[in-house]
Subunit: 484 residues, 2 copies
DNA sequence: AAATTAGGTCACAAGGTCAC
DNA sequence: GTGACCTTGTGACCTAATTT
């Protein structure tokens, strides 16, 4: 296995590459982040589990594609290598329209969100310092035609364009963006023009140059992002349009990001022999705030004008991060959940997140929610109604319901890489049995409470699926569009 | 250097990239050149247009124009590329004014019928999932530079139904002049001549009021489905609101449509003038399994699991009209349903229709579905699995399950105008009680069968909501697209 | 030398534009 | 509405510099 084999000689059909079935690859799993290069050479001497030691296939740690070597410090594929280099060189900044936790682990998925891909590159340990930015002493390509007229060697224009570009995920929408021209010299045959992406902001030394393309530049002015900062300094705030609304986004420099990321992962980071940390910091949980330096307050003020966020939904998603953590704790306080494999726990939890949020929120703010639900949409109204009928009084019982939700056996199928299915099924059955026992008494309508609970499960499932199918807004709250 | 020159006159074929094998006519990769077109090229000496003689001429598989590359998975020209993108983005639905088998294979002919062109795009293998759908919240107007003059004060939903012909009635057969622009009005604010369109519905958003838009019919927004046909006969037209839009659906049964679409071309089943269809490439429709590699070199982008249209889904929706009727009959054979107000029956039934379809189909074709489900998506797989575990043996029991679904109390909230809520609740409770009694025995996993049934209810609910959130294709089958 | 990994190249295929 | 023509980002492949 050598680079050359991977490249030129071996007629490995690239089409045989499969996307790994894993979601986020166990970011705590050292097997995926070999601490030393010796581990890369998978010989018979490998003491490590030979999980994916398929012949000489090395996985990109960002996207699971075939790695072509260690690039900028990380085992990575050509795509991620190029992506990282391009955007570090450009000093590009992206924003995520979701939650800064898009799943980009996958050959197809990596294109969904540039921001999250870049984050993942950095988290995996790619070191921007190994990239020469805008090297003035650039080596001249052999075939350089050297166009005689190269008027402005370093023109950084800020152009605006509302074009989405990376479209492999139909659900992922990108809004407008501000852009600067490449700091690299222009390519021989190509023209520079506004770049559509979710790139936010780039160079500091930008000088607004004359519009390059007359026919298109007029168009590009009409909408899109505009910087409120002065042109000579780093704009601190970007107005960005997405989904027809204006977002105000604080910008952060790459170095700031780096500092943040590396601070979180590896304090002893140095530029020289850069190696990825053996284990990455826990991947930011959804809605986690640590990786979200943007001014949420600002954004939120803009959010308000937004349309139909159901009132109950809003309550449920208020402090949803903390609520999530509380839910998780609650689940983990029960051995039938905590005994599961940690990876399985996370995946189960992830799938049931919305349901748990609802249940927890409901019992946390019963009165408020009941009152609010009266004016809510019907699905929610009925759900709250059913929850009410269950007449649960203790947190122990609430816990049971949450366990029933999180351990739903049928949901296993929706999860890609469960390690111990059997154990989950056991737990699930235990919980169901427990519920039958605990809620044997007859409740509202002459029905057993256990049945009422099961009915609630149906409704939770419905809302869960509903929200899953919604786009998320920037706070991770589902955008409940008009429904039939 | 023009765009085309890139293809035609590229002087330096610097590598052996796939498509640079233009010198090798078409035999190099038979996958890309179905026999029909290859034959066309090979025998170009005679009747074929001389244009194809160019060795590097690549044909659009939809219309035979010059292809400019592989677009959305298919070798296509700029026109078909744009056509497909536009209309997928808009979520446009077309209807054919002829027999759904118009010949669109030809540069001139491709404009004859949008519906058939779109069909052909799909059949050729164009994949809608590779298009970023419009964010429904906003559609930018074409020319935003003239915002000053916007007199219309009412941006409310302008439902536009330029429907010249709602139901496809072969007997009535439009004359050849029937498909005409007279029947339609121009829909955009441009002052161009009215464009012919057989688009059924557009997703032009309400926020942008176009003065020139005209509403053909003011359809109330909250009515749900309503038949405009006579009550005595099979309703020929259904107005249905789905995803916030009005659909006008011919209630031709799925089987009829399918049969027509798939076989009309081969058989002489159309009355009247029937034009021979252009031969389609033997490429799979995107409705069918998408595992097929597009191009060996780039399969990675299309890799596995485009579970777009699930096989089980197809079975469930095969003959869905008849199945629906059967379900309804089954429900009505039980007094606890038949005693309800007829309007209420209809509404309940409509809301539970997908679930009933699944249950009925499952017990109708148990073996087939079980087998098919093995390769199905996970949600479906688990549902079928759970249904299996319930171990229902008699149609009486199936009826119970269907009643449980159709009478779900909590679904009442989703229904607008229920007349006798109390009666429904009573019935529901009865059914639940009955189920508890009937399924008291212990089944799989040591759980009571009644609980297993309730679990199935959850899963049904999930699928139901999933499908509800899907767009419907022209046959009323949910388009199960990939989600973010 | 061989292996590795920077940076560079450019076909490709996304989406937008706007005269028609 | 259509489609020729424009833009972009992407990544498979390349070359050269550096290390082993
Ligand atoms: Zn990668
Ligand atoms: Zn993201
Ligand atoms: Zn074409
Ligand atoms: Zn037609």
């Amino acid at each position: 296995m050598s680079y050359f084999h991977l490249y030129g000689c071996l007629p490995i059909p690239r089409d045989l590459r499969m996307e790994s079935s894993a979601l986020i690859p166990n970011l705590g799993d050292p097997r995926n982040f070999p601490p030393t290069s010796s581990a890369l050479v998978n010989f018979s001497s490998n003491s490590a589990p030979s999980r994916e030691n398929q012949s000489n296939f090395r996985q990109c740690q960002i996207c699971s594609d075939q790695a072509t070597g260690r690039h900028f410090g990380v085992l990575a594929c050509e795509g991620c290598k190029g992506f990282f280099r391009r955007n570090i060189q450009k000093n590009a900044r992206f924003i995520c329209f979701y939650n800064n936790n898009c799943d980009v682990y996958g050959i197809k998925k990596r294109k969904c969100c540039q921001k999250c891909r870049m984050d993942r590159c950095l988290q995996a340990g790619m070191n921007p310092a190994q990239i020469k930015k805008n090297n003035p002493t650039r080596k001249k390509p052999r075939n350089e035609k050297t166009p005689a007229s190269n008027p402005t060697p370093n023109p950084a224009t800020v152009t605006l364009n509302p074009v989405p570009r990376l479209s492999f995920d139909p659900a992922a929408g990108f809004g407008s963006s501000a852009r600067h021209t490449d700091l690299l010299l222009a390519r021989n045959n190509r023209t520079q023009s506004p770049s559509p992406s979710n790139e936010v902001e780039t160079s500091y030394e930008s000088t607004i140059s004359s519009p390059s393309k007359r026919s298109y530049s007029a168009v590009s002015q009409k909408t899109g992002a505009s910087s409120t900062g002065t042109a000579s300094t780093r704009p601190s705030v970007i107005r960005k349009e997405h989904n027809g609304r204006i977002w105000i986004i604080d910008t952060e420099t790459s170095s700031e990001i780096l500092e943040r990321v590396h601070h979180a992962s590896d304090l002893g980071l140095n530029r020289g022999a850069h190696r990825p940390p053996a284990s990455l910091p826990p991947r930011k949980c959804w809605l986690s705030s640590w990786n979200q330096p943007q001014r949420m307050a600002d954004v939120k003020t803009e959010i308000r004008e937004r349309e139909t966020a159901d009132e109950v939904t809003k309550i449920v998603f208020k402090n949803s991060y903390e609520t999530s953590m509380a839910c998780k704790e609650l689940c983990q306080s029960c051995p039938c959940f905590s005994r599961l494999d940690e990876n399985d726990q996370n995946q189960l939890f992830e799938k049931a997140r919305y349901e748990l949020l609802i249940v927890y929120s409901y019992y946390q703010n019963k009165m408020t929610i009941k009152k609010t639900a009266e004016n809510s949409n019907n699905m929610m109204k009925q759900l709250i109604n059913s929850l009410d009928k269950c007449d649960i009084k203790t947190w122990e019982d609430v816990k049971l319901i949450m366990l029933l939700s999180v351990l739903s056996r049928d949901r296993l199928g929706k999860i890609n890489a469960i390690r111990d299915v059997k154990l989950i099924e056991e737990s699930s059955n235990e919980v169901v049995a427990q519920i039958e026992e605990q809620f044997a008494e007859v409740g509202e309508g002459g029905l057993k409470k256990s049945i009422l609970v099961m009915i609630v499960m149906s409704q939770l499932r419905e809302v869960n699926e509903f929200w899953n199918r919604c786009d998320l807004d920037i706070n991770g709250v589902p955008n409940e569009e008009e429904q039939h």
